[in-house]
Subunit: 358 residues, 2 copies
């Protein structure tokens, strides 16, 4: 049943010609070593994709019995953040003739543990994981093949990791809200924390959750907003109960005048809840979210977003992992990718808001 | 590394008690046999999920060496249609203690072939596939383990298949447009067809594509619209070129006054193109799409959709497959699930349209 990876007749020279770069440059990009400009990098990858270039170096370098596949365990495949990151991973893997098999943890550590066990039993050569819970990582430590963490760093696990600048992004987005005059700003996140973190945000284990909260709190502190921690809402998931709790927040006497959402799934639910309560954006409430999801640009008003380089996140994770599979034994790398804010129409000042009780 | 599936201490009786049904009824639902009402079915599954019930019957019944995993190959994991179907599959598999591993074909038959080869080499017990191309199915015929087709039937492949009533859905949606007075109605689909199908739509191999086109053409015929086939646009994919071609269509002198989109990814691209051209929905153009995607209810206006039972589609496919894994050797089943139209605000009459040249 098992056949060797297909060997394409397209060579590095063909790709170089198509991309209008030197063969050495094309080889650098395709081999994942050395540095070239972003534009050249993209040109070479696009040329490789157009020609369906599939190198066989990796296949040659790998020990017999290896399958030429990597396993990817994501938190929630229904979240467009993860499906886009998976495309980044898949595009790079394909260039190396490596297959990607996916599993979904549903953000549950038990399911994650199980998925990793299954993928290892199926002899994947390496794993890319977005850890569901930073407090429960014994199963990640035990992984014997190369491991790359995607989107979430674990301070205690020194492996290749690609994240975005979550803290800075949350800081800038929150600052945008405080500078517009908001004082009652909520941060709504899907993350679930066990125990009370008040005054100890820096001890939250999951890096995305911790860094975003620290950025949010820092911007609040700068603006002299006291006890901002009580405005953090955890556990906002795709469920009726979660939605009801958002509606309750929006109907409360001291409802926030601005909200920062941790991802586009949370933000869509917020958008619906805001409309359900008869509130206008940005007249009654301002809304900013992480992730430039498709829908954020087609609503009325369109939503201001923190644009994360999600495709690049997946791409970098795959590049790091494939380098390890090729035998690279340099110390683990921690790559942090920058984000940008795309300002649309969902942020206003609280002074224009009809119902400000502050 | 490989451990036996975890055996939970939650029993069928516990689930029955939680769901407030008899033990026999709970066993029927959990075992995937017999018939119960939809409400009872849902109640039992929810109780099982809440209690984290994981039966071990299947594990016991399976031959040693089997892995307790199924492989799923979907067309486009970035399309929310597929990620929702995968949740349906995963929820059912989980109840049987079976792991789901996923691969993405990107609607390319070569990638699909490769993914199936890899999953079989990794010894999955069964496969669920949405065939990328109905004309190229030799690799599907060769599959030696149980196979269930998801969303797309293949006339030549007599295996368990779950689809929705695509023809009837397209017929009803198009009829809604003709009854509103539209004559220039376009059907825009992501499907790519090789060769000219004019006058031979019934020979298109991929069932979803064929059935929807037949439904569309039937409604046009009923309304006396001639040569409706020329209003079918194939190959609308997530790409700049595709978008440019839609803009061109919308700027043409005889642009359609109404469009039916084959999925929500195509529809979102259309929505953006329509706005880009300065056209109003439904003033200048009416829009209806397959799939009640999240974004369709938050746009202005909200979009009328054909609501497909996507979660149930995945669920049924998993149930059929798991029955085979348990040794069921009845003849293949072909299940067709019904769809409903959710009328929102995106359909108007061409008489109200400012620029009708018909």
């Amino acid at each position: 049943m098992k056949r060797p990876p297909k060997i394409s007749s397209i060579t590095v020279s063909d790709v170089a010609r198509e991309a209008k770069v030197s063969k050495a440059t094309a080889a650098r990009v395709l081999g994942g070593y050395g540095r070239v400009s972003q534009a050249v990098h993209v040109a070479v990858l696009e040329a490789a994709k157009a020609l369906d270039y599939r190198p066989n170096e990796l296949a040659r370098s790998m020990t017999t019995g290896r399958s030429g596949s990597i396993g990817v365990v994501v938190g929630d495949i229904e979240n467009p953040f993860f499906s886009l990151a998976v495309r980044g991973i898949s595009d790079i893997a394909r260039l190396s003739g490596i297959n990607v098999i996916l599993a979904n943890s549903g953000e549950e550590v038990e399911a994650e543990r199980n998925a990793i066990r299954v993928l290892l039993a199926k002899q994947v050569d390496g794993l890319i994981v977005t850890p569901a819970q930073a407090g429960d990582i014994a199963h990640l430590r035990e992984i014997s093949c190369p491991l790359t963490l995607l989107d979430r760093a674990l301070p205690e696990l020194d492996v290749d990791t690609v994240t975005v600048d979550d803290r800075d992004a949350a800081l800038r987005a929150t600052r945008m809200l405080t500078e517009a005059g908001h004082r009652r700003i909520a941060y709504v996140t899907a993350a679930v924390l066990s125990g009370d973190f008040r005054g100890a945000a820096s001890r939250i284990n999951t890096s995305t959750v911790r860094e975003r909260i620290l950025g949010f709190l820092e911007a609040c502190r700068e603006a002299g907003i006291e006890d901002a921690e009580r405005n953090i809402r955890f556990g906002s998931r795709r469920s009726e109960r979660s939605h009801a709790s958002l509606v309750q927040l929006l109907r409360s006497a001291d409802r926030p005048t601005a909200i920062l959402a941790s991802d586009s799934v949370v933000a869509l639910d917020l958008f619906k809840a805001i409309r359900e309560c008869g509130l206008g954006i940005p007249r009654d409430i301002s809304l900013v979210t992480f992730h430039d999801a498709d829908w954020t640009s087609v609503t009325t008003p369109p939503i201001t977003v923190i644009d994360q380089p999600v495709y690049a996140l997946g791409k970098s994770a795959a590049e790091l992992l494939i380098r390890r599979l090729k035998g690279d034994d340099r110390p683990p790398e921690r790559i942090v990718l920058p984000t940008t804010i795309i300002e649309r129409m969902s942020v206003g000042g609280p002074l224009t808001q009809s119902d400000d009780r502050s």
